[in-house]
Amino acid sequence: MTLDHLTSRTADPSRLTSANGVSRRGFLQAGAAVGGGLMLSLSLPFARDEAEAAAADGFAPNAFIRIEGDGQIVLTMPYVEMGQGTYTSIPMLIAEELEVELSQVQLEHAPPNERLYGNPLLAGVQATGNSNAIRAAWQPLRQAGATARTMLVSAAAKRWNVDPASCRAQSGEVLHPPTARSLKYGELAADAARMPVPESVALKRPQDFKLIGTPAKRLDTPAKVNGTAVYGIDVRPPGVQIATLAQSPVFGGRVKSVDDAAAKAVKGVRQIVRLDDAVAVVADHMGAAKKGLAALVIEWDDGPHAKLNTEAIVGELEQATLNPGAVAQNFGNVDTAMASAVTKLAATYQVPFLAHATMEPMNCTVHVRKDGCEVWVGNQVIPRAQAAAAKVTGLPLDKVVVHNHLIGGGFGRRLEIDGVTRAVEIAKHVDGPVKVVWTREEDIQHDMYRPTFFDRISAGLDGKGMPVAWSNRFAGSSIIARWLPPGFNNGLDPDTTEGAIDLVYALPNMHVEYLRVEPRGIPTAFWRSVGPSHNVFVTESFMDELAAAAKQDPVAYRLALLDKAPRAKAVLELVAEKAGWRQPLPERVGRGVSVQFVFATYMAQVAEVEVSKEGAVRVRRVVCAVDCGTVVNPDTVQAQIQSAVNFGITAALYGKITLKDGRVEQANFDSYQILRMNEAPAIEVHIVQSSEPPGGMGEAGTSAIVPAVTNAIFAATGKRLRKLPINAAELKRPV
């Protein structure tokens, strides 16, 4: 496998044609021989009528596979690689059915084209998110591989004048065992392009899988350990200048005045670009740009949010939950059941705004010309990046070329195009290409944040302590309402409520309401584990409260509610066994558990936490049991859980973004801390064997760990934490 196209740092003219999705299309249609409707047969509802056709000497049966006459096998990746391993697991699906080795394929990023590359699980938006790449690709991309293989076999059989059933494909060749003949795919490409597209193809049986289910080596790793991988921030088109910027420190503010005399005097500074709400310094290198930025004297008009603070926003959410919301879930009769309950519990929970803090700071490189615009960026929604650049420049969409790059951390941040818009606004004033790089401070203070939420939750227990009523009402931002408006209906969206309405437990009476309250003066966005990042903390903490009120063991209490959810029960039993749930622990050390079904994956975690006399929390060990259905790459599943657990512990221990006088108070990794090596726990992952369809793996570990940690703190100290992040002062040992 080569990543040539991903490690090119300069603008290679030969790539320009394929990057805009226009010229390459023309190339592929030139020798059109394959009939239309292939994409439709692949059941990609948003990618119909563009059956890819063959070039004179090549074979491109669909938008994902291209076999050149020289034998090069190129797979086009509709999902972007940001560390989650999609550049390995998606090729595994195609290669399994195409019968090629991973070492034989070359990868390309998909150009912006929602008809071909729209995500069927995200309403056809060409986006990578919500842990659904494997779920979305599982059937269609295996079918894409099988279709191509079938046509290659047909081409070989025709040339040899033998029955296709007597041939088989293996390692990029078609073999005819009876006569010991073979032909490489490249030699068959031109003929295969003229074969009829099969109406249907049989997919391999799981027991015949050679790749799926194996810990295949990641294809993007070699370039990432020797410094040759090219992220968006690494592109260097000829003549590129570097810019950095200061945006209004209060969201919605404006530039009042700029004194740029000192900045212009800095060696290497070439230009100051003033926008309505930001100022950029363009220079020969980032060192000069930063020095110039520091020398600017900017006076801001802070605008309507000048006095805003976080307490006011949270207060509004709390107030909102006193009124009814949209009914997200309702079964049984909670009021009647609550009235008859022997024990009643009620609590409020709150989670903070969170920044993404991807290691690769926000950046985007843009070259605006009179007749076109070129954009280099690592982004999770490439067509939206293209549209944003078209909008700012006023150019037609087909005059905007977007080159996608490896992403140095997404976590939802790069599902937004604010950074592209900003870069194009600046580039419009610059002659030649300009790379706009945000400082870490800008990155933290002008993020779009995981929303803060406020929950009011209550439950009633019967005489045995088991729940008979569960009621929850919460308020906060709906990302979907802005990001995908058709997904927001009757005051609800499927993301904001995920993890709150379909609990794994048998609860006889349940009522959940949501109130959409958009915070003033601070933008919100998806953040790793999205809706469940908030909801699972609340529901699994409260379930722990019920167990405590019933004076029962937290695992035994949950198990008693899982008779009708065998997969959830199995992961809980497994995690308890592997964690040694009943083994004694020293004083101020505790174990906490969580169970969830989100992103179509069942997961249970046990965290083992130590709380010092001063209240400092250390997560010592995490055990996770997961049933994510069929596993494509078990090593990636392990890696994603290890990653998601550390991501969630960071949020639980440190994560908060607060506003004071409209300004984000956190700025860099000192005030917005990230878990470090010396704090990272041992993490064990146990995967349940399953032949169910695959579930999502990129995010589930994050939502599950947070309540496991706070439940462990309760076990260690008796202190129930209902507000994040964990406040060490509350956990000091009483004197």
Partner: protein, 156 residues
Amino acid sequence: MATKIKVNGVDRTVDVDGDTPVLWVLRDVLGMTGTKFGCGIALCGACTVHVDGVAIRSCVTPIDSIGTSEITTIEAIGATAAGAKIQKAWLDREVVQCGYCQSGQIMSASALLASNPHPTDSDIDGAMSGNICRCGTYVRIREAIKQAAQSNKQGG
């Protein structure tokens, strides 16, 4: 003011202010983009390079402080014994996820291994806690360093 520096064994002359951090000279002036920008104030380690074999944060190291010292970056660390072992262990253990911080992680780990062939867990914490990985690959970084150290034991 022209400044002469030696990077990966090659003499280079750059014309930048003397207080310009080495990071930007490498990335933007010399086009060596394997070294990454993460925080700008030595909090995350993404920019780690070696100066005469010692791991330093290039984002806060002025170019005029280098003098005749030799800078080694991720692009050349594989030519050192410790760097090659670390890179191999990184591949064997599938450490990398998004990969953005890994140049810095590998540079810190290589410096550790070069100066301490058999680091303990506590040595690893000491040498690596300045390098943030937002993907949280710490479990595998630790395993990979131990694997690389093991190959030291075997005389590899």
